[in-house]
Amino acid sequence: MGIIVLKGYMIFTIVLMIVYAVRHLLFAYNRAFGKQKLYYNDIYSSRMPKISVLVPMHNEEQVLHYVLDSLLQCDYDRDRLEIIPINDNSTDRTRELLDEYHAKYEFIRPLHRDCPDRGKPAGLNDAMAVATGDIIIVFDADYRPATDMLKQLAIAFADPSVGAVMGRVIPYNANRNMLTRLINLERSGGYQVDQQARYNMGLIPQYGGTVGGFRKDLLLKMGGFNPAVLAEDTELTFRLFTNGWKVIYANSAECYEETPETWEVRGRQIRRWSRGHNNVMFRYFLRVLVTKHMNWKEKLDGILLLLVYAVPFLLAVGQLDAIALFFLHEMDILSGWWVLLFIGAYCSFGNFAPFYEIGSALTMDGIKNEVYLLPLIMYNFYFYMWTISLGFLDAIADLITGRQVVWAKTKRFTK
């Protein structure tokens, strides 16, 4: 019986991997050869909506001037714009620097938070309570929006069915070291192919928590962000879809971010994402299945998207399963070559984007030579499997114990 369970689990893992491999093959094909669904670039109105740009910050003295100076360069009517940097319990010079900006620019209105419930969701809730804009646009403190970014993001809300919009994220420190170059490859595959294909195919483009926006009244009506959720972005995506709203993707709204430059920081970031994403998966798995607001394609993609950060854990168990079968003299299942398919499937899955999806993205982007780094993402596989599995176990522990999540900020590297 035990052997049957072990073999059954292995076949389940293989099938799961094939499903993801095919899903990404379809995405890559759609992006490379399909008709692209354009964003609302050409319908700029003379009367844009009033927007509030929220920038959550915790000890961001190193980088805050980049994001604020970039926002000041943005082409948007000043009387329809306010910028609210959320100084969330900072202990460095963030408060002082923000007050200097406020003294110079009246429409930069810092919100200083000195309270125990530190964290992005709680900070966004407080800022929304004082924001005067109809549309909320969010940037993390390490982002550098281009001059047309605010207009590009805000214009989507002329469509009354749009609940949230997400732009494209591009690392500006991509050439710093091997890690940043590899993250750049993942970002390219993840946005240029994955997000755009999901938008093209009418699936689930994901709101990513930064370089994006949403309707303030809608979110307030839904009770604001849940401070107990680490992945407030994924939660918002599924909250909107299960309530009949659309999230759309703006591939043309390119914004630059700072990516982690050390493996230690990257590992902590990924583990936190995994914990938050899996937390949302536990909350929304059934809701996605039963909601009447999503069609079958959206449900299928929604479930696969929810499971993305559970898959590495399932694979880690599959690896242990394979080792157990080996020592039990049962590795020879289905003439031995299924083991290869198992390994092959997860290698082709890679981490966040399989190799052919990244290859397609680099072709679309016209980026030469970086593709030579592709074989190295194989080594990332074990790194991600380990850190994401730890995040999955964190989420399980959160679910069982009901413990409070503590927000952690990603370390900045800009000097």
Binding site: H329, D332, G359, V371
Partner: protein
Amino acid sequence: MASDHKRQIYFARTYRHLKANRAECALFLLLFILPCLVLLLLFYDELTWVMTNGAVWMIQQAGGPRAEISAGTFLPRLGPAYYAVLPTTQPDYSLILGNLAVCLGTVWVLSTGPRKGRPVAVYLSIMLLIHTMACAFFLLGKDLMPYTLEDFSDLYIKQQIGIWITFLVLIGLVMGVLGRGAILRRMLTVVSIMLYSFVLGFVRYVLFLWILYRFSVLYMPLMFFALGPFFDFLYFVAIYAISTNGVIRIYNTKKKGDWVWA
């Protein structure tokens, strides 16, 4: 055109894509990949025969015994999968304890200091833990080890055929469905991957058999899990990357006109 007019309009990369050529894609899959797959299925027995004979000869040249050749079934109604049969060398306790100590020491080094959490350290740690499990297994119940060197040889050959079939299907789909550019380039990519796979599969087979015969079957799990198909994907993706880089260059220079916007 007036000299102050812009001579060239640079189209954004945002929504550009390529024209699909479904006929070319279907022909590539039907006239090249499918026949290759059929040939592989019909002649994998010949391949394993050549590979096994070569391995037997090389091991003998290296001072090993004259191995026998046996045959197992890979797919019913298709040819047998040949493999070399060598005597099993069991590890002695000093070898097991030595390996165990080296493994645990290396894992400790990899999981402390600046190496901790780095991808290669994580990868090596997982692989060394597999070897540690093998050491513990042999230490506690050497007689319970279910595999002989003959079993491993049989499993390796079957796995190798699996690699060939999977790689052909995978690169066929990637080059056929997602591939662009000259057909010859795509065919060359497929052929390069398959040739590399044949050569590496053979060299690794000889090396594995020699190490397992010369030193002991203690290293069997490590070879199976750490140095097996995982490494095959390195050259697979590397060759794909070389091919894709060529495509990127061509479409950014000579074939700019092939782009379609939205």
